[in-house]
């Protein structure tokens, strides 16, 4: 099912949780809703499921306007951020509940629920009450309960946040597999960029209730629309050098360095931010854009990195292993085109 939202807005008293959100989720797509805490991810999801009335805008399921349709009639499966398993029912009864409401005969619903429990590997605990399950097991029950009624739209609100790293990886693939098997349009909320990138067809990045960018993970990383998108994605995070445009080139704030930029859109005197992904730096002795002094070295996994001073600003670069660097050494940095971005300092928009 295709889901379209138009000018979706949610206000709480005076606060705007979601602001003029426009987006189309294609049929069978798995979309990750990504953004920092409090950016309105759960609010968006709750409006899609119908449990939160919208302040403005419309929601369409295929061609039907469901904006004012109550949650009972939307046919949506929802996995809550805190599971919301019924404490007085066993695991099996919990999973059966949506079918019981649909008046599916008892034998059939037990069969279906058991199948679903197997799928999420929870079939060992069918007779337990939720409080006798770990957080991860509860989450899987919640997923099974959402899936068992074969919803038209599956909404998952940070469903993996309580799992350990290994199980999270497994479940992530599991969700992907289940989603592809069932072909259900799925929206998956997370604040974990890696999770979003690995699982989804498309990422919707949000901030303060505003849509920032919609694209696949690679495009989001390689071609960010604004400074927020660039800095939200990437580990180690993107470097930022503050400066201004002079004679069509980037000049560091204190005037100590100039970087050539081939960008026809820059305006003379414009204050800008030069975003540089750490892997877009190359320590190169001959041709270089910046001169820097190594301030501190550290390792991350197998990689060696260093904080280096450029003028009075600090950036992070990868050190190549075939050369011995020491703190205090001067290095010459070449910037690659790919992974270097110019942003307007005021608006944060990509130039």
């Amino acid at each position: 099912m295709r889901v379209k939202i138009e000018h979706l807005t949610k206000r709480f008293d005076d606060a705007v949780a979601v602001d003029d959100f426009n987006m189309t989720f294609e049929d069978g797509e798995l979309v990750a809703l990504l953004g920092p805490s409090g950016c309105g991810k759960s609010t968006t999801l709750n409006m899609l499921s119908g449990i939160l009335p919208v302040s403005e805008g419309h929601i369409y399921f295929d061609d039907d306007d469901v904006t004012n349709v109550p949650p009972q009639n939307r046919g949506v499966g929802l996995v809550f951020q805190n599971y919301a398993l019924y404490p007085h029912m066993t695991v099996l009864e919990n999973i059966c509940f949506p079918l019981e409401i649909k008046k599916v005969p008892k034998e059939e619903r037990i069969k279906k629920a058991t199948e679903m429990a197997k799928l999420v590997q929870i079939d060992k605990y069918l007779d337990r009450k939720p409080k006798a399950l770990s957080g991860g097991q509860q989450q899987r029950v919640a997923i099974a309960r959402a899936l068992v009624k074969t919803p038209r739209l599956l909404l998952l609100d940070e469903p993996l946040s309580n799992l350990d790293a290994r199980l999270r990886l497994e479940m992530r693939e599991e969700i992907r597999r289940i989603q592809q098997e069932t072909g259900v349009t799925t929206i998956f909320v997370t604040h974990d960029q890696e999770e979003a990138m690995s699982i989804s067809d498309k990422i919707v990045l949000m901030k303060d209730g505003h849509l920032q960018q919609v694209s696949d993970a690679q495009t989001l990383y390689d071609d960010p629309h604004n400074e927020f998108v660039a800095s939200f994605l990437g580990n180690p995070p993107i470097n930022k050098l503050y400066g201004y445009i002079k004679d069509g080139n980037f000049v560091l704030e204190d005037g100590s360095a100039t970087v050539k930029v081939n960008n026809p859109n820059v305006k003379e005197g414009q204050t800008v931010v030069l975003g540089i992904r750490p892997e877009a730096t190359q320590l190169n002795d001959k041709e270089h854009d910046l001169t820097a002094v190594i301030k501190q070295r550290y390792t991350m996994g197998k990689e060696e990195l260093a904080f280096v001073n450029v003028g009075n600003q600090t950036i992070r670069v990868y050190l190549s292993s075939d050369y011995q660097y020491a703190v205090g050494d001067t290095v010459y940095i070449k910037l690659r085109q790919k992974g270097s971005f110019l942003f307007d300092r005021e608006t944060g928009a990509r130039i």
């Binding site: 499921s49 119908g50 009972q72 809550f80 919301a84 019924y86 029912m89 409401i101």
Partner: protein
């Protein structure tokens, strides 16, 4: 040095253990004098035959119990009390659950209904009973007016037909239900407010309508509170007395005997007949009945919980 330390810590332990007891003494003293002593004394009294207030008695044994159990009036009392308990408790529980559920909704003007339903709590049941006496009036009472409005025949709630008063108990039961509900509703309402509204939301998403949510989510999650109110009401209903008093000028029922309840019987044995030992024996029997039913209910609850 070491010795002093040891002494010091011993003192501390002593203080920690016994200091609270000192604070408890006034309360404990009250408990012993006004609760424990009378209870023990009632047990002793129940075995003393022909007991007088002076302390004299004619014999020791089960005489009081056999007398009481052989008394026709006591059997009437047991019968009436049981009918009263097993109508008032279930009916008031069901009604209270329904009303508490409504009061728990966020509707405009709900504060008015809260006040209206809780008003009986702050009124004396005897005073309200007098009001009910007029409401139950055969000719001018509002209850009969409503009944006739719907085409029914007026009922002689408080009067007698051939000396039996067949509707007397029904009137007392209706009054009893009304009387017990506010307290029950308050307890249930606090129970309802402890239910995470997320479960309702989840059930809505699962497709449940409000009656299914009430039946499958609200009531089961409210069960512990329902059991609590049932036990409390069961105990208080077995002690029914105030409710039979206001309608017939202090008599229990129109013929003076037909609405005997156990507490009424105890009171009459004690104050009117001066049969202190029998009153005590009847009290013990009442206690045993309440005890058995409370245990039964707790046993059922533990079965339900698993």
């Amino acid at each position: 040095m070491a010795k002093k330390n040891k002494n010091g810590s011993n003192d501390a332990i002593f203080n920690r253990k016994f200091e609270p007891l000192i604070y408890l003494i006034p309360f404990a003293l009250g408990l012993v004098i006004f609760t424990l002593y009378p209870v023990v004394n009632v047990v002793i009294m129940s075995f003393k035959e022909g007991y007088r207030l002076s302390g004299a008695f004619t014999g020791v044994g089960f005489g009081n119990f056999t007398k009481v159990l052989g008394d026709k009036n006591f059997m009437t009392a047991i019968k009436n009390t049981f009918i009263y308990v097993f109508t008032v408790v279930p009916i008031s529980t069901v009604l209270s659950v329904l009303i508490a559920n409504l009061l728990n909704k966020k509707i405009k003007g709900i504060a008015f209904f809260h006040t209206a339903f809780f008003l009986p709590l702050v009124t004396s049941s005897i005073a309200v009973g007098l009001v009910f006496k007029y409401m139950f009036n055969r000719d001018i009472g509002v209850i009969n007016t409503i009944i006739t409005l719907f085409g029914g025949k007026p009922i002689d709630w408080l009067g007698a037909i051939a000396g039996t008063g067949p509707y007397n108990l029904a009137a007392v039961i209706i009054f009893g239900i009304w009387n017990i509900m506010p307290f029950t509703i308050i307890l249930l309402l606090s129970g309802l407010q402890n239910i995470d509204p997320l479960y309702y939301t989840a059930a809505e998403v699962d497709g449940a309508n409000s009656s299914t949510i009430f039946r499958r989510i609200t009531v089961p999650l409210l069960m512990p509170t329902i059991f609590l109110t049932m036990i409390v009401n069961l105990i208080s209903c077995f002690k029914v007395y105030n409710e039979v008093i206001p309608f017939w000028r202090g008599e229990a029922g129109v013929t003076g005997r037909n609405l005997y309840t156990m507490v009424y019987y105890i009171k009459e044995q004690f104050y009117t007949n001066r049969q202190l030992g029998r009153a005590a024996a009847a009290s013990i029997i009442l206690f045993l009945i309440i005890f058995v039913f409370t245990m039964l209910q707790r046993w059922i609850q533990s079965k339900v919980d698993n």
